[in-house]
Subunit: 418 residues, 2 copies
Amino acid sequence: MKPLPGFRDFHPAECARRDYILATWREVARRYGFVEYDGPVLESMALYEKKSGGELVGQLFDFEDKGERRVALRPEMTPTLARMVAARERDFKKPLKWFCCPQFFRYEKPQRGRGREFYQFNADIIGETSAAADAELIALAIDTLRAFGLTENDFVVRVSTRAEWAAFLEKRGRAERMAEFLAVIDKIERSQPEELAKQLQPFGVSLEEVRMELSKPAEQWETGAALLEDLHARGLTSFIQFDPRIVRGLAYYTGFVFEIFDRGLSERALAGGGRYDSLLSLISDGRVDLPALGFGMGDVVLGNMIDDTPAAAAKRDAWLAANRAIDGYIIVAQEDRRGEALALVQQLRDAGQRVDFPLTSAKVGKQFQTAEQLGAAWTVLIGDEWPLVKCKTLATRAEMLLPPEELLAHLSPPEISD
Amino acid sequence: MKPLPGFRDFHPAECARRDYILATWREVARRYGFVEYDGPVLESMALYEKKSGGELVGQLFDFEDKGERRVALRPEMTPTLARMVAARERDFKKPLKWFCCPQFFRYEKPQRGRGREFYQFNADIIGETSAAADAELIALAIDTLRAFGLTENDFVVRVSTRAEWAAFLEKRGRAERMAEFLAVIDKIERSQPEELAKQLQPFGVSLEEVRMELSKPAEQWETGAALLEDLHARGLTSFIQFDPRIVRGLAYYTGFVFEIFDRGLSERALAGGGRYDSLLSLISDGRVDLPALGFGMGDVVLGNMIDDTPAAAAKRDAWLAANRAIDGYIIVAQEDRRGEALALVQQLRDAGQRVDFPLTSAKVGKQFQTAEQLGAAWTVLIGDEWPLVKCKTLATRAEMLLPPEELLAHLSPPEISD
């Protein structure tokens, strides 16, 4: 009676929490002028093998379909995005600002914060090289987390750029060994100085030189000053920490990169992204050659962090309460008035109210209890007083007798969901 | 650069049309007091093999995962629903009124109105035997289509009940041959009388007897009178046609069944469902034994019908226009005011407005053009007039100079999406 290991069932309460995250992602993305797209859950395996590094190929849910095609459940969006942009590139004005909230599938060992499926907010800007695009993307990531009630006390955005490291190696004639070099930088915090000095030797680089580079202020990075100035104008610098040690695991990043961490002890990564100016060309076999940048933010770590952060949990719970299952409940106090009750239910629903009623006869007290359990804001009782009905506001217990045709004017307009 | 055969890409315009259908399904389901749930896209193959008939097993996208489990992409929701209800049955008050809008996967030959993936609105009532539940479900299906701007001129709900045919066979001592018998009834319209008489012989039934049964008024069916009376009170009888020939292909229906057809020449089935009182017990190996009923409505035939029905297409297009990408666009007329522009962008977005702006410097005329293309309702120009800004309503061309801090009061509140 359980789902597959690493997969989630979304019973109504869990589904509402998932929808809160998805609705908030969508709302903030739209505030930033991003438009939504989506692609297939299943893609040709070849699409994922093209991406340099192929980090995810070992974790694919891949198989052969009944038509003998090698296919895979999507583990990420960028290959699909590249394919979709390449297919209709001329139809869209640049820069594209596109987002989606797809579910991804990766065959990993399930653990806290990681299952075999998850939702991920993906936002990408395509066709723009300027640091203004980098800032717009970072600002969107920050405001998305702010929309969940998280503040600069809760998370930090660590920003770096691979361009600086590329120039650093170039100067030393070691540009071709970039990937290996970044792997050393990536582990710098966990390495002993002697060990590190030895690891740096093959690149003709001393530990001292690396330390100098690490302490270079961000204003001196190639696009650092422009990025900082932009984020400063938006009032978002308190969320930012420049940290050249952040290089990100994925091979395809070419410029600025960032990761967002929980400031708490857990130091969980909430989101990550950066600039990948060569990737679209690689995936599309040269059909589209556009600069691009993007980030991903998963629902699982974020959901755990909302649970653990009282202000964020309270904000979510307020949303869940406002998105209660129903607005009102019709109490059928006399079975022989069921016809009138049904007509009223229909009229209220037609007006957009969320209304429920007892499908079979039940005691009046029991019906009121059901109304409370379903989260109704009001009840309308049809009984002795007909042709008047008794409308009751459950929060205040205030009651009022009125003809059914005046009900709609009396009730507040239906709550807006997501 | 194409998706797999039978799969769809949702570029922004297509994604918005998909979202219109999903948002409308959700809105109407909630009006009826249904709550949303969802399950995994991938399930154990065994779950689908349990269902009697196993009609869909031949169309599964099934494979063995890296943990040697036989798994399949979901082709329908009922097995997952049964599994989820069985897992936590005691947590929920009956009757359950649950809905979902999942994507399903079936390996079929792609053709108009049918791909290898589609979305389907599923609504189920669990734990209620009365005809009032049957009526509630049919009313939801009708009101869902009405919400798309479709009327009784566009579609018809054909209602039947298997209970009558079961009683008919029982009387003749042939109850055990129900499935075969319904297969004959299902093809009754397409069969010649002589052929039909021959097909009926094994059941000890004459063509005359079947004709008598077919002409029996619905009020005389076991639950027909109650169903009719309920739908009449709701004012929905003009959508209904009682037709005992509708028996539905799937083996597991036990009581009333219905199908909704386009009234046009194409006679496409828009939705179908019915009562399946034994299925939950079957799928859950007896863990849950609750009466149940439900229907499914796919997005593809519905989408085609909206395209083909002018009033429905107009209603969709109005929704799409109201859900435009942005509310406003900030015109940066002087590059040295970019900092002030960014601050304003941030302030407006924080207030929930959907705002875009040029990431790099562009001529003012070009910026206005972009604003129009993106569907902005207003522009705010930052330039010579600083510290005042020029706010323009694009529809009326009305302009106004004001300090930026007064902008928010001047602009209408942001449009509500979905």
